[in-house]
Each structure stands twice: as C-alpha cells, then as structure tokens.
C-alpha cells in the first residue's frame, strides 16, 4: 500500500479520535531532560515528590521483582538512593505514562499492551548494552512507547480490529501487515501522528514510525533496529499481546539484525538460544511489575 496514503489515513483517523489523551507533563520533562547533564535530575525527583499518585506508583514498581530490593522500599527518597538517578527517570516516565492509556482497553487489553511495552523496553535496554549503544536509557524509553499507535487503533477502531484478528485465527501473521489490509493504515503511522501531537523528539518519532522498517531510518537506524529486534524477541516469549501477535522469524533474514551486526560485529557470536531462555525467565518479573503498577488504580 502507498505510504503517503497510509499516512493520510492515519492523520484523518487521529483527528477523528474523540478524547485523545494529552501527554503527562512529567513524561515530557523526562524526555527533555534526557540529553541534559545529570544535575537537573533533581527536578525529576521533585516532580515525583509533588505527585502523590506518581510517588505511590514509583514505590510499587521499585518493589517489584524486576528491581529486586533486599528490603521493602517505602519512600521515594529511599527509591532514589537504591536506584540512582538514572533509573528513577525511567520509573518516573513509565509511571506517569500509565494514565494515558487508562480505560482504553480495546480489542487489545491495556495490561497485555503494557506487558509487551515493558518487555520491549527491558529487552531494548539489554540489546543496547550488548551492542554498546551509548544511551541505554533512551533505548528503554523508546521501547516503552514504540507501540502507542496499537492501543489507540485497537480502542478507536474496534470493529475493524476484531475483523482483522478473526481473519487470521490459527495462522501466523504480522500485525503491521494485516493492519494495512484492514484499516488502510497501521499502528506505525497512527503512532507517529500521536507522537507528533505530543511533541515527542524526532528520534522517538522515527522509532515509532519505523520500528518495523529500520532500514528506512535516517536519524538513528541503530535505535530502530534495537527496538525491532526487541519487539521480535518479546513476541515469541509470551509478551505478545496475549497471543494476538503471531510472529516467526529467522534473525539471519531480518534487516534489523544486519544493521545491528554492522554496528556491533560481536553480536554475531550472541547465543540467541540462551538469550531467549533468559528472556523467558524474566517474563514473570515483567508481568509482576505491570501488575504492581496497576494494583489499586483499577487497571
């Protein structure tokens, strides 16, 4: 399908979305501060402290198995000391972002969306570390937001989305291809329109638009490729929208894999089998973390 037409459809679609949420201030500020020197991170801590709901979520999340504190952490201050400033930014961003999708369970439920998004965030960060990508935190954050288009598509276009899933029952498929067929656009274009509305930085927009076509990326193909591979791995390790995305892949044939190997030749030696098994081991941690964030907020 013509790319321009898909973009046009997405723009019209997003313009028609009623009550599209706005981006939380904390999330915007965290992104803005990402490239700034560490001293301004005090501001993030202040923002958390000023928002009781956010503070409570941060504390819940830091006590989840993913962060493994030896003793329960009961205050934001303790959380800051335990995690250090870098992680607290991730937490502040994620926790502030939760509200954006509250009550927008469409055909894909929000919990499975978060499990997938967290998974892709966590795995993007692991891959970023392995390939020595300089900003692992950014890899985590773009991983979290890469599929924002999916939530809104499945919420605002429920009938078409249902028809899409019914059509593929029992057969392997990639969501992005089927969306073009059933909706005239995909979560990439819809996500891009929303990201622009929310004033996301250009490299975030690029990942949202091109995480399924990293070879077309101009600003940061490595980052797009990291998220692409993380997305694939999560889709085969139970972080697959509750089974709504059926993916099969061979790394040797993935363009993102070639991009990453070009960036970090040592990746050719990666034990992918073990990588998968280790990821499977982390799935319950990721699911627990999602549960911990939603506990008590009616998610």
């Amino acid at each position: 399908m013509e790319k321009a037409a898909m973009m046009q459809t997405a723009q019209e679609m997003v313009a028609s979305f009623v009550d599209l949420p706005t981006i939380p201030q904390v999330a915007t500020r965290v992104i803005e501060l990402l490239d700034k020197p560490g001293v301004e991170l005090d501001e993030v801590a202040d923002m958390i402290l000023a928002d009781q709901v956010l503070a409570a979520r941060v504390i819940k999340m830091v006590n989840s198995p993913l962060y493994k504190p030896a003793h329960e952490i009961k205050s934001v201050k303790r959380a800051l000391i335990y995690l250090g400033f870098r992680h607290i930014r991730e937490l502040a961003f994620t926790c502030s972002f939760v509200d954006v999708f509250q009550g927008r369970d469409g055909i894909l439920d929000i919990k499975s969306f978060w499990e997938h998004s967290f998974g892709v965030g966590v795995v993007s960060k692991i891959i970023a570390q392995r390939v020595r990508y300089p900003d692992t935190e950014k890899a985590y954050l773009v991983g979290i937001v890469h599929d924002i288009g999916e939530v809104f598509l499945s919420f605002y276009r429920q009938d078409a989305f249902r028809a899409l899933l019914d059509s593929v029952q029992g057969q392997p498929f990639r969501l992005v291809q089927k969306e073009a067929e059933f909706l005239g656009t995909s979560h990439n274009e819809v996500g891009l329109c929303i990201a622009r509305k929310w004033n996301f930085p250009a490299d975030y927009c690029e990942v949202i638009a091109l995480h399924h076509a990293p070879e077309e990326a101009v600003l940061d193909p490595t980052l797009c490729a990291i998220v692409n591979i993380a997305d694939l791995f999560c889709s085969v390790c139970q972080l697959d929208y509750g089974g709504h995305s059926w993916v099969s892949f061979n790394l040797a044939e993935e363009k993102a894999w070639s991009i990453l190997k070009g960036y970090a030749p040592n990746l050719a030696d990666l034990d992918v089998e073990r990588f998968c098994y280790e990821l499977e081991d982390r799935v319950p941690e990721i699911q627990d973390m999602v549960k911990s964030i939603f506990q008590g907020i009616g998610g």
Binding site: G170, Q171, P172, L232, F233, S235, V236, C237, Q238, D240, G243, W246, V247, S248, F249, N250, L251, A252, D271, V272, E273, R274, C276, Y277, E280, D281, P284
Partner: protein, 291 residues
C-alpha cells in the same frame, strides 16, 4: 534415549539452593550439555540435586558443584544428574508451542513446497523416540489433516532409539495415565482406549503410521541411510554427548534433512556452538532449526 515415566517428586526435605549456587550450576549444565534450567524449575532441580548430593556425600551445593566438575568421576556424575533431571520428560503432546507452530506454519509451508513439485510424501523422524510418545503425537496431528491438507499424501514416521526395551514398548502402544497427562481430551477420546483404569491403548490407525527401529546415533554407517526427512525431532538426547560427538551427530541430522526441512530439539535445549550451518527460526514459545 530412554526416560522413565514416573511422577515428579517435588516433596522431601531438599537443601535450599542459593541463587548463586543455582546460577553457577545452571551455567555449568548449559555449557557442558546445552540444556538451560529456567528459574521456574529451581525447586525441581533442588529436589533432584538432593538425591545426588546424598549419594556423592556432598554436604553443600557448592561442594557438589566442585565434585561434578572434577575429571572422569565428575563427568560420570553429571550423566547421573542428567538422568535425574530429564526423567519424566516423555509424554504425549509434551511441547505444545512447538506443535502449534508445526501445525500452523511449518507443516503447511512444507506441504506447499512439496505439493508444488508433486512430491506428496512426508517423512518424519523421532530420534531418541523412547517409548514412542513423540512419534505418535505427530501421527495423531497428521491424521487430523488427512481429509484436508494431507489428502492423498503418504506419511512415514520413523522412531529410533538405542534402547531395545523402549522400542518394544513403542511398538506395543500401551501407555499409563502419566504418559497421556498432557493429551487434549479430543485426542484422548478419539485415539486411545482406556482398557483398564490407567491403561491407555493406542488405536491401530495411529500405530500404523509409525515404525520403530533400534539405532545408535553414533553409528555412522546406519546414519547415512536415514535420508530425506522433512522434520527431525531429537529432544533431550544430545545433552548426553560430548562436544565432538554432538557435532558429528548434528551434522548427520543436517545431512539427513531436506533443504526446506526443520530440526527440533527439546524445550530447553540449545545447539549454540554445536553446528554453525543450522539457522535458528523463532516462533511463539520456542525455536527450531533449518538450513
């Protein structure tokens, strides 16, 4: 390779294994045998280890770890430990994600390729078939496709094992309730007859599709005759081989597989570092290898 089918013993007063000891032992088992112990199986490993620690007189997990790493006695011990931890692996419909992928993707794919050239014959090998559960699971799955995808196709399923006793059991086709514990009701009702409580007799229709022979995977001459398979399964067998033998046997599998075929190992196994020709193909809940 023969594995007994007996219920898992999760009870007992096993010494608690620390995260560090668990990870150390897991890494060692993975590096030597290519089998990965998921964290969710920690307690299972703990209980199995306690038996081996008792026999070897190891007081702590760290002490046992040193023992199992030490020379010839260590490698003999490692085999015994593997026996403990791979027991009860065998049952019908053991690896559901694998079967789903096979049914929905790999089988239709191969049928399309072979159908195009008018070669309507499917060959499947269960290497290390034990008492036949894996081979017969495939037989049942394929029987269900007889009227549709596999209409007019010839199906050949071969099971091989080094152990004659289990080959005999496979040919007999009589199973206990533990072997059928994962079998979906649909298949259980359709293809088994419960002759007595806990005695499940496989239907002749299924048995007819599979043949079983004694075969040593080390036997190069015989391995040369196992030709042109579309799917080869070899679960929890290679873990017993040393690196060199493993490389040789896997090379045989590679040669014996059609260019479009797939090679499946066990649910937690890995061929990393064993053969650099096979490519890994991922699917939800697992992966397989192809050429």
């Amino acid at each position: 390779m023969a594995f007994e089918s007996k219920p898992m013993d999760m009870k007992g007063s096993a010494q608690k294994i620390s995260d560090k000891d668990f990870e150390q032992l897991r890494d060692y088992i993975y590096n030597v045998c290519g089998i990965y112990f998921h964290s969710s199986k920690k307690y299972f490993l703990e209980s199995r280890l306690s038996r081996r620690m008792e026999v070897t007189g190891s007081k702590t997990h760290a002490e046992y770890y040193q023992y199992v790493r030490g020379g010839a006695t260590g490698s003999a011990e490692l085999k015994k430990l593997l026996d403990e931890i791979t027991t009860n692996e065998t049952c019908f419909f053991r690896n559901m994600p694998q079967l789903n992928a096979l049914e929905n993707k790999f089988l239709p794919e191969i049928v399309a390729v072979k159908g195009k050239i008018g070669f309507k014959k499917l060959r499947i090998w269960s290497a290390g078939s034990s008492s036949g559960e894996e081979a017969y699971t495939m037989a049942m799955l394929l029987l269900e496709k007889r009227a549709t995808l596999l209409k007019d196709w010839i199906i050949e399923i071969v099971g091989t094992d080094i152990n004659e006793t289990v080959i005999g059991q496979a040919k007999e086709g009589v199973y206990n309730s533990y072997s059928v514990r994962n079998t979906p009701d649909f298949y259980l009702k359709k293809y088994f007859k419960e002759e007595a409580p806990g005695k499940f007799v496989l239907s002749p229709e299924v048995k007819k599709l599979a043949t079983f022979n004694q075969l040593n995977l080390y036997d190069d001459n015989k391995m040369l005759f196992m030709k042109s398979f579309d799917f080869i399964f070899c679960a929890n067998v290679l873990i017993y081989f040393d690196a060199a033998s493993k490389g040789k046997v896997v090379q045989h599998f590679y040669n014996n597989l059609q260019s479009y075929g797939y090679f499946f190992v066990g649910q937690s196994e890995s061929l990393h570092g064993v053969n650099d020709k096979f490519k890994t193909v991922h699917f939800p809940g697992g992966f397989t290898y192809n050429k």
